[in-house]
Structure formats: structure tokens, C-alpha cells
């Protein structure tokens, strides 16, 4: 495979050398993904990577005009391929799980908020209860239902942001902004109470 400058990649992928350039790009992307995903995909690695690369090449050809030239073209293309791969892997991993499956029991009821693993130390348990009251009121009063649902699906359920976004009929950026607003609200409420996140963390750290 010949080395290409960024300009040559762009011209070859859209000109008469397209077939050869696509095959070269396929080899580059496949090599990178096989290496980087080998520990995450235990079965059928090569055939899954082939599918990711095929989808990525279509995406790259479609989005080539957004390449800003701030990196090598192949680095940018690999970035697109990694995004394609993770989108599909996450979709597969979470396909049978709804948001409701991930929310805690009684997730509409924040009073009282209870700790599933309270401290054995009575004094510490009392401080935890006081803080849980504040956290419960933050969740129920300061956040919208969408913010609460997304926050709990991610923090409690461990679902990736893009999968939560899909289930909430939004996109990853919009959901990030929604959660950014939620975090700012929670930070402000703590400040009003004369607390910092570090204060709370100290009370809920591993004993």
C-alpha cells in the first residue's frame, strides 16, 4: 500500500482511484480495530470488525467534507470507525434492556431515600441519613423527570449515554447538556446547604 498525504486520500477516495483507495483504507482500519478490540470481542472478532469497517467506510465517504485536516486523514478515519464500532457494540450489549429495567425499585419515591448498604457505625449512619434527605430532595425537587431518569439509568444502571439517549428519543449531545444542567443544579443546591461534593463523598466512602 502506498503512503498518501491527506490531500491524496481525499482526492483518491473521490476520484478515479476510488476502488484502490477504499481497499487501502479498509486494510488500515481493519488492522487498527482488530488490535484495539481483540480484548472486547471474544468471538467472531474478524467478521464483526469487517462489518464495522464496511459501515465506517460508508460513513467516511459521506462525511469527508467535514475532515478539517488537523490530523492525519487515517487518524480521523479511524476515529469514525471506532465510533461506528462502539455504537453497534453498545446497541448489541443493551438491546434487551429498557430504562425501566435499570431504575431502582420505587424510583418515583424519594422520601425517604434509603441506602442499600448503610454504615455499621451508628454516628456515621445518622450523618448519612441527613445527607440522603438532601440528596432525595435534590433529585425530586431540583431535577426534571427526564434528568432524573437519565441520571439514574447512567449512575445506577450503568447504561452508556448514547443508549440512554436512544431510549429517550434524543441524541448524545442533547442528553449530555441535559445532564450538565442537572449536575449544575445539584452543585448549586449543595452550595446552598453549605456543602461540597467532597463533604458528601467523605461520608459515603468505602469503610
Amino acid at each position: 500500500m502506498r503512503n498518501r498525504s491527506n490531500a491524496e486520500w481525499l482526492s483518491d477516495l473521490s476520484g478515479i482511484n476510488q476502488s484502490e483507495a477504499i481497499e487501502d483504507l479498509r486494510r488500515v482500519l481493519k488492522r487498527g480495530l482488530i488490535y484495539a478490540l481483540s480484548s472486547r470481542i471474544p468471538i467472531d472478532l474478524e467478521s464483526q470488525v469487517d462489518d464495522f469497517v464496511q459501515d465506517a467506510i460508508l460513513r467516511i465517504l459521506d462525511k469527508m467534507d467535514t475532515f478539517r485536516g488537523e490530523s492525519k486523514f487515517t487518524t480521523w478515519a479511524q476515529k469514525v470507525a471506532v465510533r461506528v464500532a462502539f455504537t453497534e457494540m453498545r446497541r448489541q450489549r443493551w438491546k434487551d434492556i429498557s430504562l425501566e429495567d435499570l431504575l431502582p425499585e420505587d424510583s418515583g419515591d424519594f422520601t425517604p431515600l434509603v441506602l442499600s448498604d448503610p454504615s455499621p457505625d451508628p454516628e456515621r449512619r445518622a450523618v448519612q441519613s441527613q445527607l440522603l434527605e438532601i440528596i432525595g430532595s435534590m433529585l425530586s425537587e431540583d431535577l426534571t423527570e427526564r434528568q432524573r431518569t437519565a441520571l439514574l439509568a447512567i449512575m445506577h444502571g450503568g447504561m452508556p449515554l448514547d443508549e440512554v439517549a436512544r431510549r429517550m428519543d434524543t441524541n448524545r449531545n442533547a442528553l449530555y447538556k441535559l445532564l450538565h444542567d442537572a449536575r449544575k443544579q445539584m452543585r448549586n443546591r449543595l452550595i446552598e446547604k453549605g456543602l461540597t461534593p467532597q463533604d458528601v463523598l467523605a461520608v459515603f466512602e468505602n469503610e
Binding site: V28, R31, G32, L33, I34, Y35, A36, L37, R40, E70, S71, K72, T74, T75, Q78, K79, A81, V82, R83, A85, F86, P104, E105, D106, S107, G108, D109, F110, L113, V114, L115, S116, D117, L132, I135, G136, L151, M155, H156, P160, L161, D162, R172, N173, Y176, K177, H180, R183, K184, M186, R187, L190, T196, P197, Q198, V200, L201, F204, E205, N206
Partner: protein, 78 residues
């Protein structure tokens, strides 16, 4: 509602790392190829692009993609 200490800690860590100005996942992704090449060139990408580094520290999904991309690029150039 019952929550674990771990969930409370995750929430508080996310609040602790909150800044008024943050990159979204999309903006972080836009910068990621440049960020990685700076790192591979031995430059101080974290200092040059602190908002990208902060987003990667905060967002598990973007961090996972970044780590895999870094490995993939290293495999491409070796």
C-alpha cells in the same frame, strides 16, 4: 427508593467535576484525532486542550472510545 453508596459516590463525583463550560460529547469527538496525535507526538495535549481532557475524565463512554482509538492508531503506525 434505595440507592447504594456507590451510586451516591458516582453522583457526587460527577457533581464535583462539573464546570460551567464543558464540551459536549460531539465537540470532544471533533477534537479527538488532533488530541491523540498531539499525545503520540509527545506534546502536552492535556495542557493544550484542557476541555477535551476534562471531558474524557468525566465521560466514561468518550473515554472508552478514546482509549480504543489510541490503541488502534498505535497499531496502525507500528
Amino acid at each position: 427508593m434505595k440507592l447504594s453508596s456507590e451510586t451516591i459516590r458516582k453522583m457526587m463525583n460527577s457533581v464535583k467535576s462539573t464546570r460551567d463550560q464543558e464540551l459536549t460529547c460531539g465537540h470532544c469527538h471533533d477534537e479527538l484525532d488532533h488530541f491523540i496525535e498531539m499525545r503520540l507526538a509527545g506534546k502536552n495535549a492535556e495542557e493544550a486542550m484542557p476541555l477535551v481532557q476534562e471531558h474524557l475524565d468525566r465521560c466514561a463512554g468518550c473515554r472508552e472510545e478514546y482509549e480504543v482509538l489510541l490503541e488502534a492508531i498505535q497499531a496502525m503506525i507500528t
